[in-house]
């Protein structure tokens, strides 16, 4: 039998004509882009350009803001995420998210990691422990915390907390991990560790990362999308964007003329 998937290009996300408003304020204007499996896609742009709004739309977290209105389609593995058949729980377990500021729960390290599996009905203690170890190893945190899994997560350093949040996200085995400026609250050493981690994450997951740090985008991503005032200005291979952007505004931004 032939696996058809091998022969067609696989889009994890296919965004078609996405518009988004906060009340009367249009924050995203006719976005069209796609995200490929097992790649790191970086989203860059000056603050207020809509990059954060965009990733939060990808797992419908944006709906927590009551006045948001969307238009257009986002296909996730071919299924429209806005359709009534797509449960938001399913979407968010398939598409995990890591936030700007580390946000562990005020519980033990162990309880943080198994939060996802637990609320989604995994009860077996042994399975949970297995998941916890696997996820913590995946987030390169296991060796640092294996002896104090029952300590409160807020005893960890900022960088460790953020890796714990990554582990927590990994615990439900998502397919995609969204990261909204995950290193902006961290010091350079902690940032470096997370960037190293991203290389490994890529093997298992598709990663979409918002960053205000262009060097970071250039270092870690395969593709880069440049947003400006709610518009997607340019979307291409990272090498191409940074070496030879086709739009003047991209070039201006990358060379530090604004932003």
């Amino acid at each position: 039998m032939i696996d058809i998937d091998q022969y067609i290009t696989k889009y994890v996300y296919d965004v078609k004509g996405l518009n988004l408003w906060y009340g009367d304020n249009q924050a995203l204007k006719d976005i069209n882009m796609h995200v490929m499996e097992n790649e790191i896609t970086a989203i860059i742009g000056p603050s207020g350009c809509g990059k954060s709004t965009f990733v939060k739309t990808l797992n419908r977290m944006i709906e927590n803001v009551p006045i948001v209105k969307t238009e257009g389609e986002i296909l996730y593995n071919g299924r429209n995420i806005f359709s009534s058949k797509m449960k938001v729980e399913e979407l968010r377990t398939r598409v995990g998210m890591v936030f700007q500021k580390p946000n562990p729960f005020p519980k033990s390290i162990y309880e943080n990691v198994v939060y996802g599996p637990k609320i989604h009905g995994v009860k077996d203690k042994k399975t949970l422990m297995e998941i916890a170890e696997q996820s913590l190893r995946g987030a390169a945190l296991w060796d640092e915390v294996k002896d104090r899994l029952n300590d409160n997560a807020y005893g960890l350093s900022g960088g460790q907390q953020q890796r714990l949040c990554i582990a927590r996200t990994m615990a439900v085995s998502p397919e995609v991990i969204l990261m909204d400026e995950p290193t902006s609250a961290l010091d350079p050493v902690a940032t470096m560790r997370i960037e190293e981690l991203m290389e490994d994450l890529k093997k298992e997951y598709t990663v979409i990362i918002v960053t205000h740090n262009m060097q970071q985008a250039a270092r870690i991503s395969d593709k880069t999308a440049f947003f400006l005032s709610g518009e997607l200005i340019e979307f291409d291979k990272t090498n191409k964007i940074f070496a030879n952007p086709s739009d003047k505004r991209t070039e201006d931004y990358i060379t530090g003329r604004f932003g």
């Binding site: 449960k87 729980e89 399913e90 377990t93 398939r94 996802g116 599996p117 989604h120 009905g121 995994v122 399975t127 297995e130 998941i131 696997q134 615990a171 439900v172 085995s173 998502p174 397919e175 298992e204």
Partner: protein, 306 residues
């Protein structure tokens, strides 16, 4: 365990999941929250329902008379003595609570060092946390005998002593609400006045108090409402005399004390006397609610100013 297995289990569970809690919980909590509304309507309903029975049997002219003798052979239900008793105790309480409370508020918010404030505020909180029955006992067994030495004609039950003690009880309330209002005045206004060479006193009287006047007034209105509704101090220390008089050395009955006297006595259900409880309760309720609404209105206005 493989990632795919975990994913598979979780997705299966999500598919199976009924959205029971999402549908039921909002309704359940709405229901629970509405119980408090039901309580309020219950209060209003019982008060009005039984008051109607009272007012249908007692002519309005009698209600506004000064003759209150509910248990005599020919009962008369003039509420003016009760209103008078409530009015006088409230005025005395305010004469104590407003100046002292305001001065304490000014001192705490403008003059006291942060360290001193840390000591003084808990003292006020302790004062505010003492049950009213304790103040009642204090008024009756300490303040009244003390005042008798100054005013020999003072009765063992009188309006003066519970009025003063009620004022003391209300000091913390006036102080803390007024202090909040004064602290809400933007520092920049204060700094402006001080920068021009004003003393603290001048800054307080010319800038802080005018700017926070609505909050201060609201706190006083709330204090009045509290004094009107206060029960145990007046029940114990001002007695149950139903005379209509302005002599504060004499015993008088307040609306609240009337309710207590009547319910703990043996007014049988269904008599006019029994229904008079609800009429007095209704008047009391309308007074305190009105005061509270006024205070809220004033306070809302001052929040808008900044």
């Amino acid at each position: 365990m493989d990632n795919n297995d975990i994913r598979e289990i979780i997705q299966q569970n999500i598919k199976k999941k009924s959205h029971f809690s999402d549908r039921v919980m909002p309704k359940f909590f709405l229901f629970m929250a509405l119980i408090s509304v039901v309580i309020t309507f219950g209060i209003v309903y019982t008060l009005i329902f039984d008051s109607i029975k009272f007012f249908s049997q007692v002519p309005i002219r009698e209600v506004f008379s000064t003759n209150l003798s509910p248990l005599s052979r020919e009962p008369s239900f003039g509420f003016l003595p009760l209103l008078n008793g409530t009015f006088l105790t409230t005025i005395i309480a305010m004469l104590v609570a407003v100046p002292v409370g305001m001065a304490a508020a000014i001192y705490l918010s403008q003059f006291a060092s942060p360290r001193l404030r840390k000591v003084l505020k808990p003292v006020l909180e302790v004062l505010a946390g003492i049950p009213t029955i304790v103040y009642g006992f204090f008024a009756y067994s300490f303040v009244t005998p003390l005042l008798m030495r100054l005013i020999p004609s003072l009765g063992a039950k009188n309006v003066l002593s519970p009025g003063i003690v009620m004022g003391i009880m209300i000091i913390p309330m006036v102080a803390s609400l007024s202090e909040d209002a004064m602290n809400a005045v933007p520092t920049i206004m204060k700094e402006g006045a001080m920068g021009l060479g004003s003393t603290r006193l001048e800054t307080t009287t010319k800038v802080i108090i005018p700017a926070s006047i609505s909050g201060i007034v609201a706190s006083i209105v709330l204090a009045v409402s509290r004094a009107i509704g206060e029960t145990m101090i007046v029940t114990i220390a001002s007695g149950s005399s139903k005379n209509f008089t302005f002599d504060i050395t004499q015993s008088m009955q307040t609306m609240t004390a009337y309710i207590v006297e009547f319910t703990s006595g043996d007014a049988g259900s269904g008599t006019v006397g029994y229904y008079s409880l609800y009429a007095v309760g209704l008047i009391l309720f309308v007074f305190t609610l009105g005061m509270n609404l006024i205070a809220q209105h004033i306070a809302r206005k001052y929040r808008e100013e900044y």
